[in-house]
């Protein structure tokens, strides 16, 4: 039941690529065999062509040509703003909820009810509140990321062993320092899970945020492609967002490990 030793570092390096490679190969095989027509499942080489047009062509040569870097920048800004907002609101609220029954009593029911509401239902209201454009996008992304961040921070703060807080208190640590020096580090495993989930869902909700009122962005491209039934572009979108999502996930993890001893030193 112990984690296996990483004796064979080589194998470990290759392992993560096993599933992607197998999926790609079977996709390729299915496409080559002609079992599934390309308009249902595009051929990898078509998707590759679409991707290279989207990423590398001169802008203006086709509907999506060369838009990638502009889209990426725009979307990244939106995702990061939304995610950042969710972090700034979600972590403090979650931690306070986890420790103060009063706050939890007040917020808990409402937050846990709203969690279930589909993001798209907020769109009409968000437009009324924020107009169309960046603010609505950021709001929708932040709303989606808020819930996992909040709920994990809350659970994490609730689990913290009272003896650690007592040890801090007897050493004269005030609430503020106690929060940063004890509560957050001790809740770190939960907090990290929440942040990682939040980051993932921020990208996933980008589509919703870019449905209305913005003209560029990866989410907008996916929705355009959907409108047109361009499955090849949708697959390009899936692959690109998966790659970007993975990079953000790694980056976030690294950043947390750099910034917090507890993220570095706990399993």
């Amino acid at each position: 039941m112990n984690r296996l030793n990483s004796t064979s570092g080589r194998l470990n390096r290759l392992l993560p690529w096993f599933l992607p490679v197998v999926s790609f190969l079977s996709w390729f095989a299915v496409s080559e065999s002609g079992m599934v027509p390309t308009y249902l499942l595009p051929h990898p080489k078509d998707v590759l062509a679409a991707a290279s047009t989207y990423i590398f062509s001169e802008a203006g040569q086709g509907s999506h040509a060369g838009r990638f870097f502009e889209d990426l920048t725009a979307s990244t800004i939106r995702v990061m703003s939304g995610f950042g907002l969710a972090v700034v609101v979600g972590i403090p609220l979650g931690i306070v909820s986890g420790r103060v029954a009063l706050v939890n009593g007040m917020l808990g029911m409402t937050v846990n009810a709203l969690r279930a509401v589909p993001g798209i239902s907020w769109l009409p209201l968000a437009m009324v509140w924020f107009g169309i454009g960046l603010k609505t996008t950021v709001f929708l992304v932040a709303l989606a990321a808020f819930f996992p961040i909040y709920l994990n921070a809350e659970a994490g703060a609730r689990q913290v062993s009272p003896i650690l807080l007592q040890a801090g208190a007897m050493m004269g640590v005030n609430r503020l320092r106690g929060t940063f020096a004890i509560l957050i580090p001790a809740a770190m495993p939960h907090i990290i899970t929440g942040l990682r989930l939040g980051m993932g869902i921020s990208w996933a909700y980008l589509v919703l945020g870019e449905l209305t009122g913005v003209s560029n962005g990866l989410g907008a491209v996916i929705m355009d492609a959907r409108m047109l039934g361009r499955i090849d572009i949708i697959v390009v979108g899936i692959i690109l967002i998966a790659l970007i999502g993975r990079l953000c996930d790694l980056g976030l993890h690294q950043l947390l490990r750099l910034s917090f001893k507890s993220a570095r030193r706990m399993p």
Binding site: I163, A167, M171, G172, R177, A181, A186, R265, M266
Partner: protein
């Protein structure tokens, strides 16, 4: 790594030192599991004077740790009052430091960082803090282990870290819950000497829970015997052996024997 401290026998503090800690008719009952009306602690009253070293002896489960936790301010008593320098105690504070019976080190901090933790908030420049930490790391014999994490050191080492991180704060009242239970004879003796040395120097008030009668007789000005079910004070024994105490003297043995027979 061995640390041997000679105890210089300074003059004894006068008997009339002011009362620091006062416990008034303190009872504690836990809500869960109808443990009867008896409760865990019943009507404990006692006083500790400035600079007194008090050892508490009592059977497993008689409420010693509970008493210390109430004194520390971690839990409220069901009834009764605790006063520190005349003021009621309600919250934990760095004037009453605890060496816990359980492992209460911060698992994400190294030995050095754990020991330095309480100093961080103090007005003290970094260099001085570092020197202070170095001094205590070496006093508890862990110089080579400064960068280890708690899960990488032995049980006895952990207890020494717990001790150091509290001693470094020089609190007015020290509450120690079996701090030397996991130490071998030699290390234990070193730690006892360290405690006595610092106590002579800083003359803080110490409440020391132990199961070792010899240790109690070696350290204590007074030994308080606890009774079980409900937990209450059975006997309050004054130990007036001169300090520094030698383990081979007849007076020492006599005390040990009488207390041992008392707790049978």
């Amino acid at each position: 790594m061995t640390t041997r401290l000679r105890i210089v026998g300074t003059g004894r503090k006068p008997e009339v030192a002011p009362v620091v800690l006062e416990i008034q008719r303190l009872s504690k009952r836990f809500g869960t599991h109808g443990s009867g009306d008896a409760g865990v602690l019943k009507e404990i009253s006692m006083k500790a004077r400035r600079g007194e070293m008090i050892c508490i002896l009592g059977r497993s489960g008689c409420g010693k740790s509970t008493l210390l936790k109430i004194l520390a301010g971690f839990m409220p008593p069901s009834s009764g009052l605790v006063r520190l320098n005349g003021n009621p105690v309600s919250r934990p504070g760095p004037d009453r430091c605890v060496v816990f019976q359980e492992d209460a080190l911060f698992p994400w901090l190294t030995v050095r960082e754990n020991i330095a933790f309480g100093l961080k908030g103090r007005k003290m420049d970094r260099g001085e803090q570092q020197r202070e930490v170095d001094r205590f790391v070496s006093l508890v014999g862990l110089t080579d282990y400064g960068d280890y994490l708690p899960q990488e050191i032995s049980g006895g080492m952990k207890q020494r870290v717990s001790l150091a991180r509290v001693l470094i704060l020089q609190p007015e009242v020290l509450l120690m819950d079996e701090p030397f239970a996991a130490l071998d004879a030699q290390t234990r003796e070193e730690m006892q000497n360290l405690l006595l040395y610092l106590w002579e120097k800083l003359s803080h008030t110490v409440l020391f829970v132990t199961h070792d009668v010899n240790e109690a007789v070696l350290l204590a000005d007074r030994i308080i015997l606890f009774e079980k079910e409900p937990g209450r004070i059975k006997k309050d024994i004054k130990i007036s052996l001169p300090r520094p105490r030698e383990k081979s003297t007849e007076g020492y043995f006599a005390h040990c024997r009488s207390i041992t027979s008392e707790i049978r």
